[in-house]
């Protein structure tokens, strides 16, 4: 059993893929490690690949929510990708819907989404200064 889940840095993003059946301590360690890495690398986004996970119980669900909340405070976007259908159905039945966590079908789509989420965030300033009156109507979106 692996005792640490590797976190990869790719440009402004952090990538991690959960491949092992995590015991609870491993999940807690990951949570803490990731928080440190976000700060250290000034990461703008985190992509978590869970396509290899066979189950997500309330503990892992809570870990994902926690990561998303902490990241938000640290100004990093989080996206969870590759959840298996059986896992998704089970989570819904269990009563967890992971509110507020962005998702994508696979790593590629997730990366694209993450990039556009970050770009959207950064473009706000330019829009306000560069464009004129007729776009301001939709700025309250």
């Amino acid at each position: 059993m692996a005792d640490k889940i590797p976190i990869l840095k790719m440009g402004r993003f952090l990538l991690l893929s959960i491949q092992v059946d995590m015991h609870d301590q491993l999940a807690l360690d990951l949570q803490e490690d990731l928080t440190h890495q976000i700060v250290r690398h000034k990461a703008k986004g985190v992509l978590i690949d869970i396509s290899a996970l066979e189950i997500v119980d309330s503990f892992i669900g809570r870990m994902l929510s926690h990561i998303a909340n902490v990241s938000r405070i640290l100004d990093a976007k989080v996206i969870v990708v590759g959840m298996q259908p059986a896992v998704a159905i089970t989570l819904v039945e269990l009563g967890l819907s992971l509110e507020g966590i962005a998702t994508a079908l696979n790593t590629e789509k997730g990366m694209r989404r993450l990039e556009s989420m970050v770009a959207e965030d950064e473009s706000v300033g330019e829009l306000e200064s560069g464009e004129n009156a007729d776009t301001s109507a939709s700025a309250g979106d």
């Binding site: 059946d21 995590m22 189950i55 309330s58 896992v87 159905i89 089970t90 269990l94 009563g95 967890l96």
Partner: protein
């Protein structure tokens, strides 16, 4: 045809082992992938409850039959303080710890039969069934 094994539940890593054994049992009675995932998830929830609130215990895992259908039966026991008000504990959102309070009520929705035997000071035994 019934196959029974007793697994320890004393530390966190035991939960992982229980999950793996339940998965194997569910595969060997040829449950569908979604049913497999549901019973494994329920086992994980209940085992963690037994460990955190009940101080640990054991898990009896059985491959058997129910109404002529292949079935997996799980009995998770602890020697903890027990549950004083079972009805209240079964409500979504109720928690005595710091969880989301979905463990018991959520797990019940994941299995075909769920029964709970507990009283204050007598420990808790939870039985889970999933059949094909």
């Amino acid at each position: 045809m019934a196959k029974t094994q007793t697994l320890p539940l004393q530390q966190e890593t035991d939960i992982v082992l229980i999950r793996q054994q339940v998965r194997k049992a569910a595969e060997s009675i040829r449950l569908g992938i979604i049913s497999q995932t549901k019973i494994v998830t329920a086992a994980s929830e209940i085992a963690r409850n037994a460990l955190i609130y009940g101080g640990g215990g054991e898990c009896v895992l059985e491959e058997t039959q129910r109404n002529g259908k292949p079935a997996v039966r799980l009995l998770i026991k602890d020697n903890g303080p027990g549950i004083a008000d079972i009805e209240r504990a079964m409500v979504d959102g109720y928690t005595s710890g710091n969880g989301l309070g979905l463990g018991l009520s959520g797990s019940r929705r994941l299995v075909d039969e769920f029964s709970i035997d507990s009283a204050a000071g007598r420990g808790t035994a939870i039985e889970l069934w999933k059949w094909r």
